[in-house]
């Protein structure tokens, strides 16, 4: 089962590339939802069945697969923005950067003092690669929604690492974290709406009146 | 001894105007004139003391106090100076500081009195007086400290009696520098040519004389007398330094001193005759040069 989870992580990394390379907003939202769903399934593959597990899986699937994509789509629709992602840096360079980061993630993971049972798994490199993808999206995309997506991918990367030690995080904390994440995204969604109302655009490059002369 | 002190005081009080007379006579001689008699300054003073006074209505008591305080301070300063080989009337360690500061006090009142009239010319003269005097002060103190160091004493009397032919032989260069600097200081302090021309007829170029324009009668007499006394006192210092002649005999020493003073007056007269008054902006340069000379003398001695 662990090896199957490993295969799924390859898929997660592929989705990273899709998000970096895609120019259409709706597609990217779908991709991040897919990534969320995959990540939601993985705990079920790793651990024996329990009520705790079920609750977690269900809530992740619900949040990342349904609620958040819906919120984002809703924001896109309400904002009536052009569908493009509008990067600061072109798609190809970001893709290349993503590839370099992914490669580096593998190299880096090799050098980490991992526990013996985690040595040969893809979890750590996938986690780092996803994290870096989130970072790339955050820093290279202009639209506020893209940045939310970047943040989500970042969270996903962290989540993958968290899969290594589900025991450490008791249910309450995990639920709390998830809830916080959800509320955070929710608030972001609201803010995007307001940004849109205020500026008639969600292009964050407009958001730079606050700076030092 | 008692006689000596009495003579000392009498010389102090009576001789100063004579110096002016000698200077003027020398200058007249250089100009090919007969000149006023040697005792003309005494006649002038006597006349002034008899005259009535005119006071400017803008003046206050400071104007009246000016000549009085100046003369009193100069008199007290005169008591601190040895004449030739004869010790000063009052002598104690550190009297040279008081000596210098008494002139400062005198200057404060002279210049204040000048400012009291509200006349632009007198203010101008006062400004020049204080400024040039300020530049002379360091020279004076360099000379004093060098002498103190040479004579290992802190009082004017031993300091000034100290120079002897032997000293001149040992430290001739330093002594020469000192004497030169002191002569410059002497001329500057007493407002003689090349610093100031007491006989000029244009107020704009004067220093001392323009300050006292408004004084009249007895007050002006006091001022003239005070100026002569100052010349006498500083001249005495100079003579002590420049002519290290000592016989030990009371009478010979007195005669030598008086002769030297008269000689000094002639020297000043010669200088005044052969030199032109410096441009005002050159004066500070000469004074600073004198300061440097004296500082150099000090370095030669302390090294």
């Amino acid at each position: 089962m662990v090896s199957f989870a490993d295969q799924l992580l390859v898929l997660v990394m592929l989705i990273n590339f899709i998000m970096l390379g895609s120019s259409r907003m709706a597609f990217v939202i779908r991709a991040v939802a897919a990534q969320g769903v995959i990540l939601g399934i993985i705990p079920g593959l790793l651990h024996p069945f329990s009520g705790h597990l079920l609750a977690i899986t269900a809530s992740i699937l619900l949040a990342k697969g349904l609620v958040i994509p819906y919120l984002l789509n809703d924001a896109v629709r309400k904002a009536q923005i052009r569908r493009e992602v509008e990067p600061f840096i072109g798609y190809v360079p970001t893709l290349l950067l993503g590839a370099v980061f992914t490669a580096l993630a593998f190299v880096f993971a090799q050098r980490l003092p991992l526990a013996p049972e985690h040595r040969d798994l893809l979890f750590v490199p996938a986690s780092i690669a996803t994290l870096m993808t989130g970072f790339l999206i955050l820093t290279t995309r202009k639209k506020a929604i893209s940045q939310v997506i970047g943040y989500l991918v970042l969270e996903n990367g962290i989540f993958i690492f968290g899969l290594l030690l589900t025991e450490a995080m008791p249910f309450m904390v995990e639920a709390g974290a998830l809830l916080d994440l959800l509320v955070g995204i929710f608030v972001m969604g609201i803010v995007i709406n307001h940004i849109n109302r205020e500026f008639s655009t969600v292009d964050t490059s407009r958001l730079q009146t606050l700076r030092e002369e | 001894m008692m006689m000596s002190i009495l003579f000392h005081i009498l010389l102090l009080l009576l001789m100063p105007p004579l110096l002016l007379g000698v200077i003027n006579k020398t200058k007249a001689a250089f100009a090919g004139r007969l000149g006023a008699p040697y005792f003309q300054p005494y006649y002038d003073l006597a006349k002034l003391f008899r005259k009535g006074s005119v006071f400017s209505s803008t003046t206050t008591w400071i104007f009246r106090a000016g000549p009085v305080v100046t003369l009193a301070a100069t008199l007290v300063a005169a008591l601190l100076v040895p004449l030739g080989n004869h010790p000063a009337i009052i002598s104690f360690n550190g009297d040279m500081i008081l000596f210098a500061y008494l002139f400062g006090l005198a200057r404060f009142f002279t210049t204040s009195a000048a400012l009291d009239t509200g006349s632009p010319f007198e203010g101008m003269g006062a400004a020049r007086e204080v400024t040039f005097a300020c530049l002379v002060e360091p020279t004076l103190f360099f000379i004093l400290i060098t002498l103190a160091r040479m004579s290992k004493s802190l009082s004017l009397t031993p300091m000034l009696i100290y120079p002897s032919p032997a000293v001149w032989q040992d430290a001739g260069a330093a002594m020469l520098l000192l004497v030169g600097a002191l002569f410059v200081a002497l001329l500057a302090e007493n407002c003689r040519i090349p610093f100031d021309d007491p006989n000029t007829h244009l107020e704009l170029t004067m220093i001392h004389e323009v300050m006292v324009l408004d004084h009249s009668g007895p007050a002006f007499g006091l001022i003239l007398y005070g100026a002569a006394l100052k010349l006498f006192v500083l001249g005495a210092v100079f003579v002590n330094l420049a002519l290290p002649f000592k016989s030990g005999n009371l009478l010979i020493d007195w005669i030598a001193f008086v002769a030297a003073m008269l000689l000094l007056a002639v020297l000043i007269g010669v200088v005044e005759s052969v030199m032109a008054r410096l441009r005002l902006i050159r004066i500070p340069q000469l004074l600073v040069a004198a300061t440097i000379l004296s500082a150099f003398a000090m370095l030669l001695i302390v090294r």
């Binding site: 962290i158 450490a168 309450m172 974290a177 955070g184 972001m188 803010v191 | -």
Partner: protein
């Protein structure tokens, strides 16, 4: 009893949400905040024991933070009544709700002994603060909110990763991952060095972006500048303290691990100094006094970090400074809020002669400026001097020299902004509002100022004992 600290504000939040009247609702704030303060003081004074399997415990560090937060909030709550009475044009439902939720979350932060729970509480404060920054509802405030939200969220996410690293370090060490502080402290020495370093770095960067350590501080001037003064006070005195407590918790583990403390200390000192330098750079020629206060906050966070890194005698100063900075920032933000309201602007071009126009607020602002720059008889002097003297006692001349240099530069920069504001005569060519000093908007900061003087001249023994206990928890154990 201890649960009430969290439940009481939550209950208040619920009631505030339900109250329909815009006038009545703000009264809910002091109604909750004052009992909360009383409760906090009671709990701080009484000995406490861990509950819930050690998850919840009010230890001295928590007590100090709770004291700072609760007292600041109480003052701000009273002020809010006066402030919101003046701003009836805008619904304050979200504001009251957010404030009370934030109080609950902040109280929870002080109680947590489980780092995961602590993370949750901190994330809650982040999220609940966001709508408050947006109170003014204009383009600038939405921009500030967005920047705040995104940067802090990214930071908090990185902190979560740091937590995972920490848990993984325990996992690697003994196959039994945990995030419970007592457990972590107990066998910290067994932790893998690499993971510990990574965890420390991620947590420091994560919470540091919340705290506002340079160069993670970029949201601060925007958020502080655009939020109402009241919210600014809570950001600077409340959230900063919470985030710093979180870093203290992490640092406790680092201390307990005893492996090469030098790295942790150096990182803290360097980041602290960078923060002070950044503050100095940006305070020079700062025209916007609220942004200036934000940079002052960056500076003081830097001071805290340097003090923590220096350790020993500075620890007392750090913990004391936590309280002092919070209260003094409260004075500054609340009075600057008044000035902002009265002049309708927050740049030095507009605000001149505040002492003439608003004698009380202007005076308070001036006094706050003098206090925050570390002058006696105000208490920040005591704490700053403790830190400085400790630096020099430990012969860290370079650090001390830079510290003083930055302090001087900051003082100059700040003075050149503050003094023209408060002195002189108000401009007559600008539109004036009818806002004037009032009891409810001047009283609270005044009370805070008096407290600062009290703490700076003759602080109560109990507080000093508490600070010493707290400092003892941060001593290097060898």
């Amino acid at each position: 009893m201890i649960h009430l600290l969290v439940l009481l504000p939550l209950l208040g939040a619920l009631i505030a949400w339900l109250i329909p009247g815009n006038r009545l609702r703000p009264l809910m704030l002091p109604t909750i905040a004052l009992p909360h303060l009383g409760l906090s003081l009671y709990l701080i004074a009484s000995p406490t024991v861990p509950v819930h399997g050690g998850w919840i415990w009010l230890d001295p560090l928590g007590k100090i933070t709770l004291l700072a937060i609760s007292s600041l909030f109480a003052v701000c709550a009273v002020y809010a009544v006066g402030y919101l009475a003046y701003r009836q044009e805008r619904s304050n439902r979200v504001l009251c709700l957010g404030l009370l939720v934030c109080l609950a979350a902040m109280s929870l932060v002080t109680l947590c002994q489980h780092l995961g729970l602590l993370w949750v509480a901190i994330e809650t404060t982040t999220v609940s603060m966001a709508p408050l920054i947006y109170f003014n509802r204009n383009a600038r405030s939405i921009e500030a909110t967005w920047k705040y939200l995104l940067i802090c969220s990214v930071g908090i996410a990185l902190a979560l990763l740091g937590l995972l690293f920490l848990a993984y370090a325990t996992h690697v060490a003994h196959q039994n991952a945990t995030l419970l502080l007592p457990d972590l402290l107990e066998d910290a020495s067994a932790l893998n060095r690499g993971w510990l370093h990574a965890a420390f770095i991620f947590l420091l960067v994560g919470y540091g972006s919340k705290l506002g350590l340079a160069p993670l501080h970029t949201w601060k001037p925007d958020a502080y500048g655009e939020a109402p003064g009241l919210v600014g006070a809570l950001l600077a005195g409340g959230l900063v303290n919470c985030a710093f407590l979180a870093i203290l918790r992490v640092y406790q583990i680092c201390l307990a691990s005893v492996t090469e403390l030098l790295f942790f200390q150096q990182v803290l000192v360097v980041l602290g100094l960078i923060s002070m330098a950044v503050a100095a750079i940006f305070m020079a020629r700062q025209h916007d006094f609220k942004r200036m206060l934000a940079y002052s906050s960056v500076e003081h966070v830097g001071i805290l970090a340097v003090g923590l890194g220096i350790g020993k005698g500075a620890l007392f100063g750090v913990l004391f400074h936590l309280i002092n900075n919070g209260l003094t920032k409260g004075v500054l933000f609340l009075s600057s809020g008044n000035i902002h309201r009265s002049y309708g602007g927050k740049t030095v071009e507009v605000v001149q002669g505040a002492l003439t126009r608003l004698p009380w607020s202007g005076g308070l602002f001036l006094a706050g400026f003098i206090a925050i720059t570390g002058s006696p008889p105000f208490s920040p002097f005591i704490s700053e001097f403790s830190i400085i003297s400790s630096i020099f006692v430990q012969r860290q001349y370079l650090v001390g020299g830079l510290f003083l240099l930055f302090l001087a530069a900051i003082f100059i920069g700040m003075a050149l902004t503050v003094l023209p504001m408060v002195m002189g005569t108000p401009r007559t060519d600008l539109e004036v509002t009818d806002y004037r000093d009032r009891m409810l908007t001047v009283g609270p900061p005044l009370v805070m100022l008096l407290v600062i003087v009290w703490l700076g001249v003759w602080p109560p023994e109990a507080l000093l004992q508490l600070l010493k206990d707290g400092a003892a928890m941060l001593e290097v154990r060898s």
